[in-house]
């Protein structure tokens, strides 16, 4: 029997029967919903397009096979085997590794705070989509109604709606401004929705996940069909997928592919461990890991096709408008009959006029219009969703309907990821027994949601967007890599490869093959180490800065790059280090506790078990 007698971890400390998934599909959908998030929509397509289209898929799939799937399998296996949340699992593997669980718990908590703020913005846009014309379609007139508001004129109606009417952003991060009540009520609503779904743990999320995990696929399909029928979709897709093999020589591509896989699968958050801990102990977690990871990647690809067909449409429309503006400028200056110059005739006419009357032509504000320039203007992150896509939606007939669908999809995607984050917080707390038995689970989750809501109010300040970018860049990047590295090393070398393989054999019925062993022993740790070092090197190379939205800037609407003030930089460093520091701190604490215990127990030393060795599998 592979199980060592007295292997306590599969007995719950609570004594109560552990909640279980109603069905395997609930579990799979929850994990897929957690992994598939906003990043699949707005990070992967951007990376794909920025790094040579089809060629990017090569490093992406290599990273998936050698880093993503092995790490994911480990998480699901230990969660399912040890049947606890992140803190409990790592304390069970080795008391000195309890810090890993604590780090995961901290990362989940910090991510919960700012992730729901992004959902707040999505909710705000969703609520504003129920009107025709959409509020971001035109600039508001200024005070004497002879023109539009200056800030809007200088940039665009969509940027104005995002930066001014939604965020009301300040020009500098040190200027915090006031709390925006509109965002505050939306934040309250978002946390209420999260509480509603998470209040009974997987009992309630298991029901909600059927909608929140499947609805985005429905919407993506609708958008795909609509997008492919729009003019210019083909150019967008060609631009996205045309492989540029030269770019593979740039090490940055490999780094970004590895980190993208990592964050995309939501590894080292503790959420997957928590989800797997509610599984029946005999469950094929290997197949689950492969299925979920592949589903996540396929969703990314599917989303990029959809997004880029619509981006192609937008770029074609912008290109056409650029040409039309030039044509109109010529017609108005030289008093040609209306609509006498078509877009195709424009270059010839321009050349002719340039030859005959160059000074008049020179005075005109004619722009250089190139389709590639518009196709390249994609963005990642919130910029894609709230500025570029909202502008694209304006051109589609029936714009409010498409806006409602799009933001509804983003909301579901974010919500299903929030479930995983919240489980990464709630399950360890429940397992640790920090709460007395008579407190119902709803009260605990309510308290957590309330605390998170109060903490997240700082993101509704006028400088909230800058802080959110800081959290987004610094909380997840380095910490998760450190935590994942210790996860792999902890399971394979501390827990023991042989014992782990035996456990998997017991759970799934077959031993892990050569691919898994090589990946776990050598490839994944080395890859994580390499990415970590490369990341630090890149981070050290440029000073910490951010792009501010400053209407007073002389080159407005270009956003000036400003350096973070000292105290903000200290906060960045703290956010990057705090969860990872839990590992050494917890190990030291355990060391001191052991020493003190051993000194107390010196007379009765024969109660120790024989040491287990982590031999080769």
């Amino acid at each position: 029997m592979a199980l060592v007698p007295g292997l306590a971890p599969h007995v719950d400390d609570h004594g109560d029967e552990r909640p279980r998934w109603d069905s395997k599909s609930q579990y799979l959908l929850s994990c897929i919903g957690f992994a598939v998030g906003l990043g699949n929509i707005w990070r992967f397509p951007y990376l794909c397009q920025a790094y040579g289209g089809g060629a990017f898929l090569v490093p992406y799939f290599i990273a998936l096979v050698f880093e993503g799937i092995p790490l994911f399998h480990i998480e699901l296996a230990i969660g399912q085997r040890l049947r606890k949340g992140s803190i409990g699992v790592w304390t069970a593997i080795s008391p000195y590794l309890g810090g890993v669980g604590l780090g995961c718990f901290l990362v989940s908590s910090l991510v919960c705070l700012y992730y729901n703020t992004v959902l707040t913005w999505v909710l705000w846009f969703l609520l504003n989509s129920f009107q025709q014309p959409l509020p971001w379609s035109s600039c508001p007139p200024d005070l004497d109604r002879t023109g539009f508001v200056e800030e809007c004129e200088g940039s665009s109606s969509v940027s104005y709606f995002w930066y001014r009417q939604t965020l009301n952003i300040t020009a500098d991060i040190s200027n915090s401004g006031t709390v925006q009540w509109r965002l505050l009520v939306c934040l309250a609503a978002c946390w209420a929705v999260v509480y509603l779904c998470v209040s009974r743990g997987i009992e309630s999320t298991g029901k909600a996940i059927y909608f929140t995990a499947l609805f985005p696929y429905l919407v993506l399909t609708v958008f795909l069909i609509r997008g492919l029928t729009l003019p210019g979709a083909a150019e967008g897709l060609a631009h996205l997928f045309t492989p540029n093999v030269q770019i593979l020589q740039n090490p940055r591509v490999w780094l970004d592919a590895a980190t993208q896989i990592f964050f995309s699968l939501s590894l080292a958050f503790g959420g997957h461990v928590a989800f797997a801990s509610y599984n029946p102990p005999r469950n094929d977690c290997r197949k689950d890991a492969v299925v979920i990871a592949l589903a996540n990647s396929m969703t990314s690809l599917y989303a990029s096709v959809t997004i880029f067909s619509i981006m192609g449409f937008k770029a074609t429309k912008d290109y056409g408008r650029c040409l039309d503006r030039n044509v109109l400028g010529l017609i108005n200056e030289f008093d040609f009959p209306e609509q006498s110059i078509s877009r195709d005739d424009y270059p010839a006419v321009l050349a002719h006029l340039n030859a005959t009357q160059p000074e008049r032509v020179a005075r005109l504000p004619l722009k250089d219009c190139h389709l590639e320039h518009f196709l390249d203007k994609s963005a990642s992150g919130p910029g894609l969703a709230f500025i570029i896509f909202t502008e694209a939606v304006l051109h589609m007939p029936g714009a409010p309907g498409w806006a409602v669908l799009f933001f509804g999809m983003l909301f579901s995607l974010g919500l299903s990821s929030m479930f995983g984050n919240m489980e990464g917080i709630i399950t360890p707390l429940l397992d640790l027994g920090t709460v007395p038995r008579w407190v119902p689970k709803e009260a605990l989750t309510g308290l957590i949601c309330l605390l998170c809501f109060l903490a997240a109010i700082c993101f509704t300040l006028q400088s909230g967007n800058y802080w959110l970018e800081i959290f987004d860049s610094f909380v997840v990047s380095l910490n998760l890599m450190v935590l994942a590295f210790f996860e792999v090393v902890g399971v394979i070398y501390v827990y023991g490869m042989k014992r782990f393989c035996d456990d998997i054999m017991w759970m799934t019925g077959s031993r892990p093959g050569l691919y898994w062993q090589v990946a776990w022993r050598v490839v994944s740790p080395l890859l994580l180490l390499a990415i970590f070092v490369a990341y630090i090197v890149l981070l050290a190379q440029k000073p910490l800065s951010y792009r501010a939205w400053d209407p007073q800037h002389d080159q407005f609407p270009l956003r000036p790059e400003k350096l973070y003030p000292g105290w903000v930089q200290a906060a960045c460093v703290l956010l990057s280090l705090l969860p990872a520091l839990c590992i050494p701190v917890a190990a030291l604490a355990q060391l001191f506790a052991q020493r003190r215990w051993r000194r107390k127990e010196v007379p009765s030393q024969d109660t120790h078990l024989k040491p287990q060795d982590g031999g080769a599998c």
């Binding site: 007995v11 004594g15 029967e17 080795s94 504003n128 023109g147 209420a192 209040s199 017609i331 008093d335």
Partner: protein, 222 residues
């Protein structure tokens, strides 16, 4: 003699109305853009209507009630369709100040647009800014209405959930003293390989299983 007079009058007119002349305004129409297939051709009759509309606007200005159509001069009509116009005084020797003409046109911009079935963008008076329509301000912003609906639904759902949870707990608490033999029932449910015992420890009877090895001991200290 008459020919000479006509020539002089035309010459004076020509001086008064010129591109970039003092108090002259350029007008640009985009009829095809506005009306597409229903576009009308710009001919002298349309010009007459335009002069009439300008004269009408001027007549609404105090002290200018005597403005006639003949006081409005058009010149440099191009194929675009664009032209310049000035408004002269009754004696036709000087043009009315631009400020007056500008305010008159602005006050009656809507009527002028409607006469030609155009709007502010397709009938442009360069240098005369149009007053933009004030934004539609419904009594309550639409997003608040939608938000109110959504929030009420959420609040109702949370209340139902919490109440049902409380009722369930109360029912479990009432059932607890009645159930005695669950431990025997549970032993039959143990699966063969997994030694996960199904034990429902009751809140009042629960205790730590003494055989259960505590966390500190099962791993030998390193």
């Amino acid at each position: 003699m008459l020919w000479l007079l006509l020539f002089v009058v035309t010459a004076i007119h020509a001086e008064l109305c010129q591109p970039d002349a003092e108090n002259a305004f350029k007008v640009r129409l985009s009829i095809k853009t506005a009306l597409g297939d229903n576009a009308y051709a710009w001919d002298s009759n349309e010009e007459y209507l335009f002069k009439a509309m300008v004269a009408f606007s001027m007549r609404k200005v105090p002290n200018r009630e005597a403005t006639e159509i003949s006081h409005v001069l058009l010149c440099n009509v191009t194929q675009r369709v664009s032209f310049w116009f000035v408004v002269t005084d009754p004696l036709k020797n000087h043009t009315l100040p631009a400020v007056e003409v500008q305010s008159a046109i602005r006050m009656n911009r809507n009527r002028i647009n409607n006469a030609f079935s155009l709007n502010d963008r397709t009938l442009e008076f360069l240098k005369i800014p149009s007053t933009l329509a004030s934004p539609m301000d419904p009594s309550a912003p639409i997003w608040i209405i939608v938000f109110g609906v959504v929030f009420c639904i959420i609040a109702a759902a949370i209340t139902v959930l919490v109440l049902s949870g409380i009722r369930q707990h109360r029912r479990e608490d009432n059932e607890l003293p009645e159930v005695d033999g669950t431990e025997e029932k549970c032993e039959n449910v143990i699966t063969s390989e997994s030694s996960i015992p199904c034990h429902r420890l009751h809140m009042n009877g629960g205790g730590i299983n003494g055989v259960f090895v505590t966390k500190d001991e099962w791993l030998t200290p390193l």
